[in-house]
Symmetry: C2
Subunit: 593 residues, 2 copies
């Protein structure tokens, strides 16, 4: 567990955070003294849904304030309930003639302070009720008979559905019935790799390596049990789902799920998990749910809904929408409509479940692919000559592999010789299919390019680019000038000059940088200027040999802040540049035979 | 740096993650083989904006696919460019008759693979261009003259504005001009407490304690420099902003900011920061920007826009909208309109900058507060009697403080005696203001309740709740029956029974649990049943004394998974219960005098 933070303590941090939320949402207002965020646009003819609790769970709960969800949220200090005075302020900021629902997680401090506020508000003549959110299934009935179950991330479903019902103008009783039914049909279980750490507080015990905690809460409460070594992720998910769904677990089985019930899945990131892993865990959860429980969730949500600061954990929540229908009498259709309805609350995800319409012009244009798929027109060249050239070039470069490797081991990561050999062998393999027989220049060039590109890596990418660009330039000239086009050294030279320009747009490497460019630049420039392949090859060779003793300048190493300036005199030539020169010499010799 | 993960390596994780994104967004489709996420609704008469790069930066870039932003995104493995073949697939999935813009961050692999794809696509007849995003200012001109600057989180501005321009039907050239102008007017600098860790890879060097890195990139590249000890957060922000804005830093000063320019601020969480801290850093950034640079950002964004797995870092980006106007000729008004326009892209934040309308019925109802603020009607009681009772009760409880403390030190956290003393002293202070003189029962009760509540803590909350609830019940009876209402022991007893019921709704503690409830429950039940204050006080005393030797059952300790079952025989009585009994005895005696 990292105990590093930008803020040395939590002093003042809650308000700074709420100020940021409100600064970028015109519909929100902050009562600084009471740490209450409320909606400026709440319509008092509608039920006010209010929530809150300790801070450290951002975006909960202030991120859920906005039409269609909460009218106000009240925030305590980190992991500490807001006071009754703060809750009273929230009630005052979210007035309603239809009634006020205080949605709270079932922790001791929240129960008391929101409870007292309810009593006081009722004494002032408000219609006000408390709705307890209690979806945790990590602890069974026996362990929670006194305190009740905890509220975890499924309380987002209560806030969304209750808030949407209020927005749709449902009366107080109906909002309460729906809210209670949502809670009664929701289950959550969390698991985590470690605890979170509160800025400025003492270090909590770390969870050991190769161990995870099942049933972790969101306030560093110990979980149900630790498991070590880490099982495969599918097993972890399978275990978590059993706590949610196993009807034979008599101490749990808090919610009945019948075959065919409409369910929603919600994955909550505790705050410190990468989205990279959490997104993947969402898919694993979906797949295990389908495989082991035959459930296909109708809606899936994944976000940081209710965090535990930066804890590296997550939770699975399931909502039985059919169960809510059975309990509340509100249809599944309406409930999904409420779930999907828009809300201004910034932290509720965008609705990804809208019906989509096909794009207006998608079918009107069928041109796509005609150039790619139809057999392309191409100038003809001498099949034997091009094949001899390519085979000679590949043979020369393959033969040079030991030298290339040796040089690269001295100055690089040692894989250059192997990469060159792979490219050339792949070209030979393509030639072996009878590629050149047609004599169709563009098909031959396209296939060679693909053979090089398939190898991957920087060198292959550079060779592919210059080859593809050279081909593109020839194709454009051919398309423009079809009747009069003849493939000769002048066409080839002009296209080489342009291809070099394109390539230099994609790499910042230039002459003197100890890369393949030390061969390619003089080659193309000489070819363009002289229209003579022999002179161009000589220029490439000269450039390549000149890389001996040069210092590397390009690549990600140069992003390093304070670069060590090692002297590199006496270095061998750059293997990439040498490979290019050797290949080009081989090409020339093969074509001259 | 934590090296713990749920996935043992990155094998297959990229696709699992993309599947989750697509599963919950109807408008998205996934080409699994090529790791391309594309929009199903892209209109090919509009420019296609495509982006992509290595994975590990989620939600970038697939989370930005949707009308109004990207037509497709292409994903490599973690921190590795996608191949040219993958980029070609993205181009194929996002066809456009208006042209294709490939927005890429300026890393070597991306330059080459997207570059090659551009060449190939151009050869097929596509109108296609590359737009390089290069907003980093950590490294100056000298260090980046060869490789160019890196793309960091401000590239979100390029994607949003270019994508919105495409959605609005702007032509290819205009989209490119806007995109290039956005990039030319954007700056970003990052800072981090540590590196990120890639599942299954070797451990990277950790950043030492009490140290942060300025200029950290999003691929674990070393930053510009490390600073230790950690300065105050305002200093860190101040330092970061200098890199972005100092026009005297000739090696940087990449973007000109003139007085009065319209600017936007974007705070990017690298993935492992808590929202608690990142939101607060957003406000600190806004304030330092205003104080030191006289800039008030017109738009503020804060999210995990472009992460570095779970790195505990963040970046500040600034966009000069007036600068874009000067460069591109598109007005600030239009640019803000493009920024604020809706997009289906799930990861772009909801627009929090809409004009808000006042709620329909906000002003039509003025009733709010009449009951609270107007002088309330109240039954009259004997001022001397109530004052004597309360002073006697407080004196008795204050006198008992040493015993209460002694008992609580043995079994609890030792602060009970002090809490009781504070409550009573606060009540006495209120009485000293002449509270009882009016004889207005409800005002007296309300003030006493506030005096108790102000002390905070669980015991004060419980006493406040039962008192507030008792008062509320009396108020409701009075409102219903004003003419015939007389405050007597029968009214008091009935209200006490109801108040107890309310209280039991907020705490799960019951008799036998070693809490104040062991006094309050018998007190209220006896009072309700017998209508006799003396008998009720005796019942409270008996209940309180009975807590000696009891085991605690309530509070957050009971959420612990495997609870130790220590025997607690021989324990002293519960100090809370005893305090209540002593207070009530004192009240009775004072009123009888």
């Amino acid at each position: 567990m990292s105990t590093k933070h930008f803020f040395p303590s939590t002093d003042g941090v809650v308000v700074l955070g709420l100020e940021a939320l409100v600064a970028r949402n015109n519909h929100l207002e902050l009562d600084v003294a009471n740490k209450v965020v409320h909606s400026k646009t709440h319509d008092r003819s509608k039920v006010s849904v209010i929530s809150g609790g300790g801070s450290g769970h951002e975006p909960a709960w202030s991120g859920y304030v906005g039409d269609g969800m909460l009218a106000a949220a009240v925030n305590g200090e980190v992991f500490a309930s807001p006071s009754t005075k703060q809750v009273m302020a929230a009630i005052k900021h979210a007035p309603s003639d239809a009634g006020i629902i205080l949605c709270i997680t079932n922790y001791t401090g929240d129960n008391l302070h929101f409870g007292l506020a309810r009593e006081k508000a009722a004494g002032m003549g408000h219609k006000v009720a408390i709705l307890r959110m209690t979806d945790d299934v990590a602890l069974g009935r026996k362990q929670t008979e006194n305190t009740g179950r905890r509220g975890l991330a499924a309380n987002m479903f209560v806030l969304k559905l209750c808030g949407a019902a209020a927005e749709f103008g449902y009366d107080f009783e109906k909002c309460m019935i729906i809210g209670e039914a949502v809670n009664a049909n929701a289950v959550t279980v969390g698991s985590s790799l470690d605890h979170c750490h509160i800025p400025g507080r003492e270090h909590h015990r770390s969870v050991p390596d190769n161990t995870y905690v099942l049933g972790m809460g969101i306030h560093n409460e110990p979980g149900l049990h630790e498991k070590s070594p880490m099982p495969p992720v599918e097993e972890i998910v399978s275990d978590m789902l059993k706590y949610c769904l196993d009807s034979n677990d008599k101490d749990r089985a808090f919610v009945e799920f019948k075959p065919g019930d409409v369910v929603c899945l919600l994955i909550n990131n505790f705050g410190g998990m990468s989205d990279f892993e959490t997104e993947a865990l969402t898919t694993v959860s979906r797949k295990v749910l389908e495989k082991e429980w035959k459930m296909k969730p109708t809606r899936i949500y994944q976000s940081r809904f209710e965090t535990s600061l930066n804890a590296p954990g997550w939770s699975i929540s399931l909502l039985n929408v059919s169960g809510i229908e059975r309990t509340s009498g509100t249809s599944v259709y309406t409930l999904l409509h409420l779930l999907d309805s828009d809300t201004k609350a910034p932290a509720w995800p965008k609705n990804g479940y809208r019906e989509i319409r096909a794009p207006k012009t998608a079918t009107s244009v069928g041109a796509e692919g005609t150039q790619e798929e139809a057999k392309q027109k191409s100038p003809q060249i001498d099949p034997a000559n091009i094949e001899a050239g390519l085979r000679s070039a590949c043979a020369a470069a393959i033969k040079a592999e030991p030298d290339l490797t040796k040089w690269d081991v001295q100055m690089g990561d040692g894989d250059c010789g192997e990469a060159v050999e792979s490219m050339c062998k792949n070209i030979v393999k393509t030639l072996d299919t009878g590629l050149c027989k047609s004599g169709a220049l563009f098909s031959i060039l396209d296939e060679i390019e693909v053979a090089v590109e398939e190898i991957g890596g920087t060198l292959a990418a550079i060779i592919s680019i210059i080859l593809a660009s050279w081909t593109s330039n020839l194709k454009l000239a051919f398309a423009k000038d079809e009747g009069g086009f003849e493939m000769d050294i002048h066409r080839a030279s002009r296209a080489a000059g342009r291809a070099l320009q394109s390539l230099m747009g994609y790499t910042s490497a230039r002459q003197g940088g100890r890369t393949v460019m030390d061969a390619l630049i003089p080659f193309c420039e000489t070819l363009e200027r002289e229209g003579d392949l022999g002179k161009a090859v000589e220029a490439a060779e000269e450039g390549a040999r000149g890389t001996g003793g040069m210092k590397a300048k390009f690549g990600r190493a140069t992003y390093v802040g304070e670069q060590s300036a090692e002297a590199q005199a006496g270095a061998p030539p750059d293997p990439g540049a040498m490979a290019a020169a050797i290949f080009l010499r081989g090409l020339l010799e093969g074509m001259q035979k």
